[in-house]
Symmetry: C2
Subunit: 341 residues, 2 copies
DNA sequence: TTGAAAGCGCTAACAT
DNA sequence: ATGTTAGCGCTTTCAA
């Protein structure tokens, strides 16, 4: 049952301090003693209480992760990447699934995250307010934001507008003119969201190419059904339908492709579609997409956070992920050439 | 910074004991005193240290969740359901993503889960061994298994064979004879996995209907691409292709549908497909599916676990979820009639 | 109704 | 190289 380090010490015939040193590997212990202690610990099935250790060391070996969605590919991958990296480093991952606009938000930031239970916090696509971030920082809890730049804290961000520009320019380069953008739903009207930045990039690219007149945009849910609905709608008028679609994420892109094929439009062939994320299903849909490497982002977030925990906690900076704009190798490549109008 | 309850007590002019009672709501405190203490706590932004409290109470308000996949719809939904239910009850969710066959398995069960950091453990589709389960139980950590019956611990299971039988019988009832089953990959050859139980159910239904000669089975990855590949393969021979497919999960079913349509087979119409899970994309693919209600399963697991924590921890039983075999209302319904051969 | 004191299990000086 | 001691922040008897 609840065997304590005192039991181990007694069994090995040493003091608690020695037992602690032997088991943690910190401090001088004779090799023979160490063996004896470890043996004793094994015999009674001793496992240290992290709570007690945390109380004195101030370290919890536990990271809080705030994420808006679990069941969207991009976020699920980030989460897997984070959990794996953390487990490898001996940390626990405590999960808070905070939907956008959730009324739990205050409770999570003010209570759950502020309890000295975490050595650090990773917020994904959540855009903590300055107050929320400041509160944790003041408590000495380092925080890393992924996908949402936050003043004053380490942020891993992609150049979203740049990615969108690249995607749009890719389609323009293929000779398309009537290029529609199907984006995700906004939070607020002029918020600095990923959706809006991608929209900006699209608008920039279209404008630079002198295609202002061809601009068409729509918004839909960041999901396959969302893309399907938007796709059906965009393709409803055979006369004015776009020859290419830049979708804000691969789920939407896949929905558009399914919709197009459903109504007899070949993809690729009659319609070019480019998405963002590098979704694992891209290949089977002949979808061209821009890799965002969510797992790598998760790993980077962990690395950065643990560095902050180890080094000076006040190091405040914004890390911009290199805009790795890799068009994913897929069967779509060969087709794309033929796509050009 | 690290304000302690002593600071609150001092500020309110009471003892630590009184401050503790006032803040926790346990024990007698004069109303005026309580107000004063809560005011003081608010002023200095005090949040109790759960570690210190855990040390004395033995309660951690933290549940460990072991799950094999995050980025598969069914598992993602269960996880969301669990996290939500736990958060509502004031518990933390600590996540362990343990892939089947992972070498981390021992580390997670023997070290991470066995550290008195958790009031309970939920294992999803993981099938803990008797040793793993026994170890935690001996440590006084209640555990609930979802989707994998484990002797000696509370298990929430669906009658998988029954579900598969129902699905198969549904297709038989529509007049189909050449019904193929496309299942998931097995762990071990004759393990008691969900895959094998669903296969059993299919075989039972086919046999009972006297369709032994029509039995065709295949195995593939539990994903859309997996279903796509298997679908292409199953449909490759126009002569012998099945008129209906019972897929072991909706992802596979969707892949099969996409594959069929890709090669000009109409679904529904030329081919009937039934899946399992109740995937959110079912409707847009006109997919008939059997709801498994993962979120509800997650909620049920939490309810059951917290009951075990509160009540007698030694209550050992197997809870079989009622086999709610609801064919999901979808656009496929209308089509299905026409499907019958 | 409140306070004083003990102690949860561990680690980290400090002493030996 | 090992033991002694103090104390992390909290809750909980037990007295008052």
């Amino acid at each position: 049952m609840g065997s304590a380090i005192a039991d181990v010490a007694a069994r090995a015939g040493v003091s608690k301090a020695t037992a602690s040193r032997a088991l943690s590997g910190k401090g001088y212990v004779a090799e023979k003693t160490r063996m004896r202690v470890q043996q004793a610990a094994k015999e009674i099935g001793y496992v240290a209480s992290p709570n007690a250790a945390s109380l004195v060391t101030g370290q919890t070996q536990n990271i809080g992760v705030v994420i808006p969605f679990i069941n969207r590919w991009f976020f699920g991958e980030i989460l897997e990447g984070i959990e794996e990296a953390l487990l490898n480093r001996g940390y626990d991952t405590t999960l808070y699934n905070l939907h956008p606009g959730s009324s739990d938000r205050d409770r999570v930031f003010d209570f759950f995250l502020a309890r000295k239970r975490f050595d650090g916090v990773i917020a994904i696509g959540v855009e903590p307010t300055p107050e929320e971030a400041g509160r944790l920082l003041r408590l000495g809890i380092p925080m890393v934001s992924v996908g949402a730049p936050v003043a004053g804290i380490r942020s891993l961000t992609i150049d979203d507008a740049g990615v969108a520009r690249l995607a749009t320019e890719h389609l323009i380069g293929l000779g398309h003119r009537r290029i529609a953008h199907i984006g995700g739903e906004i939070g607020g009207p002029d918020e600095n969201t990923v959706h809006n930045k991608r929209l900006d990039g699209y608008l920039q690219a279209m404008t630079r190419a002198g295609l202002e007149a061809e601009i068409r945009t729509a918004r839909t849910a960041m999901s396959v059904p969302g893309g399907y609905d938007a796709g059906i709608h965009a393709m409803s008028d055979a006369m004015s339908r776009p020859s290419a679609v830049f979708a804000a994420c691969d789920e939407i892109a896949i929905g558009v492709i399914i919709a197009a094929r459903r109504i007899g439009i070949r993809v690729p062939g009659d319609l070019s579609v480019i998405g963002i994320d590098g979704h694992e299903y891209a290949e089977m849909f002949s979808l061209t997409t821009i890799e965002q490497q969510p797992r790598a982002q998760g790993l980077a977030a962990v690395t950065d956070l643990l560095a902050a925990i180890a080094g000076e906690p006040s190091t405040v900076e914004v890390v911009e992920m290199p805009a790795r704009l890799v068009v994913r190798a897929s069967t779509a490549h060969a087709d794309l050439g033929a796509d050009a109008v």
